[in-house]
Amino acid sequence: MKLSREEVEHVALLARLQLSEEEVELYTEQLNSILGYAEMLQKLNTDQVSPTAHAVQLVNILREDEVRPSMSRDKILMNAPDEEDGFFRVPKIV
C-alpha cells in the first residue's frame, strides 16, 4: 500500500490539520517509509490470535450512582481562549 499526496491531504482533513505544501510532501514520504516498515507485521500469521487492547486484565468497576459536587463553572472556563456569559465562544456555525 502506498500513500498518495491526495490521500495524505485527505487524512490531514480528517485529522483537522492544515498542512503546508512542503509538509504534505514531507509527510507523504515519511508516512510511506514508516508504513513500509510496518508492512513486516504482515509476515506473521495472526488468524488464530486475539488482539490485546490492554496488557493487564481488568474488569469494569462501576461506582455507586450518587450525586457528587462537580467542578465550578469558573474553574472550567478559566482556560477558555474566548468565553461569554458562562459559555465557550466559537465562530458562528449556522
Partner: protein
Amino acid sequence: MTMFKSLEELHNRLVKKEISCVELTRSFIDHIDSVDSQVKAFLTVTADSALIKAAEVDKKIAGGESLGPLEGLPMAMKDNMCTEGIPTTCGSRILENFNPPYDAAVTERLKAAGAVLLGKLNMDEFAMGSSTENSGYHPTANPWDLESVPGGSSGGSAACVAAREVPFALGSDTGGSIRQPAAFCGVVGLKPTYGAVSRYGLVAFASSLDQIGPLTTNVRDNALVLNAIAGHDPKDSTSVPFVKPDYTQFLENNVKGLKIGIPDEYFASGLNSDVAEVIQKAIRTFESLGAEIERCSLPHTEFAMPAYYIIAPAECSSNLARYDGVRYGYRAEADDMIEMFKKTREKGFGQEVKRRIMLGTYALSSGYYDAYYLKAQKVRTLIKQDFDRAFEKYDVLLSPTAPTTAYKIGEKSDPLAMYMGDVYTIPVNLAGLPAISVPAGFVDGMPVGMQLISKHFEEGTLYKAAYAFEQNTAYHHQAPALLKEVR
C-alpha cells in the same frame, strides 16, 4: 547540597535539625539557578510556592512532629502531569497558557507525602520523541555532555536528577521514555507495571501504554518514591486494585539463586559493541553474586517496533483530537469552525506530533483499520506471550536499555532512525510489564544503562536485583563534570 547521597540522608539532616527545610529548598533553588541555564531541564521553576511549603515543614519540625520519608524533600515533575494553578504545557505551544484546574493523582499523592515541588520539567512535545529535542520550547542538554541529548521524552526529568537539581523527579514512559533518558543520563528510572500508578491527570498520549514512574540517583530512593505514588485510584479506570508492598523491604544485597534470562534478540545487530561489552560485564557481576544466568529467546521482538508505531500513533490521534482551541490552549482565529480547528492545530503542534496524528488517523481510517491497527494489536498478543513464557522460567530478564549512549543534539533527523533508540524498551510497554534502568558503566565518558524486566507487579524483584548490582558497583556514585565545576 548538590552532592547529597540519598533521600534518607536529606531526611535525617532535616530531622536532626542540621539544616532547615527552607535552607534545603533554597540550596536546591540556588543550584537550579547556577546550572539550569546550561542543562535547560526546567520549563517552570516554582521557587516561591516551594519556599512557602518548606516553611510549613519547618513549623512541623519545630513543633516536634515526625516527618514522612519524603516530607520536605525537593522534587520536580514532567510537564505532562497536572498541577493545580501551575502551568502544564506538555512541552507544547498548544498548551502554553494552560493552568490546570485540578491536580493529577501523583501530584496529590506527593503533596500528601509532603514533598516540595520545585517545578515542571521539559519533555518532547506530548511525550513523543526519544531525545527531548522535540519540545515546543527548547532542547534539554545531557549534563554529562552539554552537546548531547538527554534522551526522551522524559529528558528534563532525567537531566535534572543527573545534574542534582532535585533529588528525585517523575517521568512518564510510553515506549521507554523513563528508562532511555535514565540510561543516557546515568540515573535510575523505573517504568512500573501498567495500572500500578494512577494516570489520572497525566496528559494522555497513548493510553494503553503510558505509565508514570520515578527517576532517582539510586535504587533505594526509587523505591521510596514508588511507595508514595503507587496504588489503586478509583478515578483512573485502568488503575489496578493490588496490595501495595513497602518496596524498600526488597532491598537486600543478595541475588543468590535469582534466575536471570538474557534474551538473544536484545544483543543482535544494531547494538553498539562498546555498550554490549558494558552489559556483558554487568552480567558477569550478577554471575559472581550467585545469580543463575541463562540465554533465552523472545522470538517476536523484531515485530514490537512496527506494532508500537501503529498502536501509539493510533491512540495519540484519538487523544489529541481534544486540542481544538475551544476549551483550553492556543486558538487561531478564523471565520468558521473547521478552519479554526485546522489552523489552531497547525500552529499549536510541532512536526513529530503532526506526523504521529497523521499516521494514527490513517491507521484507524475506514479500510485500513484491520490491516494496521487490528494486526498490530494481535502482534502485541504474541509479544506478551513471549514474555509470559520467559517468566515461567526466569525471575528477571536483563538487556541493554538503549543500543547506544547519548548522541549529539541534531544528529538524528530521520524519524525511523530516531525510533530505533527505543528498540529494547518498547516491548515492555506493549506487554504492560515493569522494568528499571540502572547505571551499568560508561563508554567514552557517557553513561550506559542496563534494563531489568520482571512480571506484572513484581517491582520488588526488580529493586532486589538492581539494589544488589548497585551495592557491588560504583557507577551511581559518579556525577557529571558539570557538578564539579559548580561546586
